[in-house]
Amino acid sequence: MKLTLHIIKKDMYQFRWSLVLWLACFVYFFLFQERATFHVDTQLRDILRLVAVLTIAVFSWALLVSIIQQDHPTDTRAFWKTRPVSALRLVMVKLGLVLALFVGIPLLIALTGGWLQHLVVFNTLREFSLMVLAMSSVTLTLAAAASCTSNIVYALVLWLGVVFGSGTVAELLSRSLPKLTAHLAMQMNMNRIITLLVFSAVLSLAIILNQYLRRRLTTTILLLILASAGCSLAGVLWSYYYFYHG
C-alpha cells in the first residue's frame, strides 16, 4: 500500500500544475452552469460555456493519456519496467487515479451542484448512476486507447477511429432496420445506450489488463475488433429485439 501511494504521489506531483488548471476549468464551468449570476448576455454565456466544455474535454484527454503513457505498459524502455513495481500494482494505480479524477471529481461536483439546488439525490439516483456509467466508460475507453499507443495524437486517432468506425457501421446497418413506434424507440434508446456503455467499459478494461498483465499484441487487436464490431451490432440488434418482443 505504501508503494502504491508512493507511485500515486509521484504522478500527482508530476502533473500538479496540469491538475490545478484542470480543476480550475471545472470550477469555472461549475460557476457558469450552476450558479450563473453573472450579468452577461445569453449569447456570450453560451460561448463561454462552450469554451469551458471544450477546454475541459481537451485538458482531460491530454491529462488522462499522459498519466497512462508516462509509465507505458508495453514500452520496453519504460523506467518502471525494471523497478520493483509489478504490472498489477501499476494498473491498479493508474486505473484508480484516472477513475478518481475523471469519474470521482465530476460526480462530486455534480452532487454538490444537486445539493446547492436542493435536489434529493435519492430521487435522481438513476441520472447519477447513468452519469457514473458514462464517465467510467469514456474514461476506460480513453485509457485503453492510451495504453495501446505511444503518444497523445495516436491515442486520439485510435479512439476516434474506433468510436466513429463502429458508429458508421451501426448507421449503415440501421438503414435496413424495422420501424418502431416513438414510444418503443425511446425505451430502446436508453437500453441501447446502457448496453453500449457497459460493453465498451468491459472491453476497454479487458484491453487495459491485457496490455499491462499479458502484453499479447494479438489479444489486444482482437479485443479492439471485438469492441468495434460489438458496439456496432449492439446498436443494431436492439431494434430487432424491440420490434419482435417490444
Binding site: 508530476q14 519504460a78 523506467f79 520493483p84 500494482r89
Partner: protein
C-alpha cells in the same frame, strides 16, 4: 537469500520478430559473482537477450532462469535485487537527480544511503538539476547510481559505454569495478566496446547473428588465442591447415595466423610438422584482436571456432 552457482541460466532461449530471428536457441550460464561480458557486433541479439532476461520482452521459445526464478515470473521481490541500465532507457526526465533517487529509494529495502551519497560525489552529479538538462554521460551515471545504491545481486548493463567520452567511461568502469569487487553483485554487460570490457570482465560470451559463438572465462579465452608468426624457408602448402588456425596469410618467407586452441607444446609440434626448420613465435592477443579475428572468420562454423 543465496543463489545457485549460476545467477542466470538460459535454455534454448529464442526470440523472433516476425520473420527475423533475433536470438536463436541461446543456452548460456552466468556464474554468480562474475563480471560477464556479452560481446557481439550491432544486431547480434545482445539487447534482445538482455531484455528477455529482465522480462522486458517475452521469449518466443525456450526459457531463462534469473535470480532463481523463471524470467517471465520476475516479481517485485526479484526486481528489488536486479539493476538494469540501458542506453535507450527512458528516465523520468522531469525529475531532478535528487527526486529520481528519492523516488527509487522506497522500492528497495536494501537501499544504502551512504553508498548513494558516496556515488553521488564520485560521479560528480548535479543533484538539483533535472535529468532532461543533463548530458548523455551524466544521465547514464544517474541511471547507474539509481541501480547501484541498493547493492543489487545482479546488474544488467546494455551498452553502457556507447557514445560516452573517455572520462565518463572511466568513472562508470570504476564504479562498476567497485561494485563487482565487493563480490555482492554479478554484472552482466553487453557491449561492443571491447577495451572497457577487457578491463571489467572475467567471463566473455560472443553472440553473432543471434547465435552463441562461445562462452568462457576471459583467462581461458586469452590463453587459447595466440598470433603465431613463422619464419620459414622454401614454400608451404596451405591446403591442409588445422581447423584451429584462422586468418592464415603467408609470403616473403613469413606466415602469420591465429591459433584458436593454443597449447605451447602442441602448437609448436604442429608448426614443426609443416615447417621443420622454421622459427616460430607466439604472441598473446588482446580481446579486441580476438574479437576482430573471429568477426573476420565469421563464415567459419561454431564448431571450428569453439574449443
Amino acid at each position: 537469500m543465496t543463489f545457485p552457482m549460476n545467477i542466470i541460466e538460459t535454455d534454448r532461449l529464442t526470440r523472433r520478430f516476425r520473420a527475423t530471428e533475433a536470438v536463436h536457441a541461446l543456452t548460456l550460464a552466468v556464474p554468480t559473482g562474475s563480471v560477464f561480458a556479452l560481446l557481439g557486433p550491432n544486431g547480434a541479439g545482445k539487447t534482445t537477450t538482455l531484455k528477455m532476461l529482465a522480462n522486458l520482452l517475452l521469449p518466443t521459445a525456450g526459457s531463462a532462469r534469473v535470480l532463481g526464478v523463471d524470467s517471465r515470473k520476475l516479481g517485485e521481490r526479484e526486481l528489488a535485487q536486479l539493476g538494469y541500465v540501458s542506453e535507450d532507457q527512458r528516465l523520468p526526465d522531469w525529475m531532478t537527480v535528487t527526486q529520481l533517487l528519492g523516488y527509487c529509494r522506497p522500492f528497495y529495502p536494501t537501499w544504502d544511503a551512504d553508498l548513494e551519497a558516496k556515488l553521488l560525489v564520485r560521479f560528480e552529479l548535479p543533484a538539483d538539476r533535472k535529468l532532461s538538462q543533463l548530458s548523455r554521460g551524466m544521465r547514464m551515471k544517474a541511471a547507474l547510481l539509481s541501480s547501484l545504491a541498493y547493492r543489487p545481486k545482479l546488474l544488467v548493463l546494455d551498452e553502457p559505454f556507447s557514445g560516452l567520452d573517455p572520462v565518463v567511461r572511466d568513472d562508470l568502469t570504476a564504479g562498476l569495478l567497485e561494485a563487482a569487487q565487493l563480490g555482492e553483485t554479478t554484472v552482466l554487460v553487453s557491449s561492443h566496446d571491447i577495451e572497457e570490457v577487457e578491463r571489467l570482465a572475467d567471463h566473455v560470451a560472443l553472440l553473432d547473428g543471434g547465435r552463441l559463438r562461445f562462452s568462457e572465462t576471459t583467462e581461458a579465452l586469452l590463453g587459447r588465442f595466440r598470433r603465431i608468426e613463422v619464419d620459414y624457408e622454401g614454400t608451404v602448402d596451405s591446403s591442409s591447415l588445422p581447423e584451429s588456425w584462422l586468418g592464415w596469410s603467408s609470403g616473403g618467407g613469413r606466415a602469420v595466423f591465429v591459433e584458436t586452441a593454443f597449447q605451447s607444446e602442441h602448437t609448436e609440434r604442429a608448426c614443426r610438422e609443416r615447417f621443420p626448420l622454421a622459427r616460430v613465435r607466439a604472441h598473446p592477443m588482446t580481446l579486441r584482436e580476438i574479437f576482430i579475428t573471429l568477426a573476420r572468420a565469421g563464415r567459419h562454423s561454431t564448431e571450428e571456432i569453439a574449443r
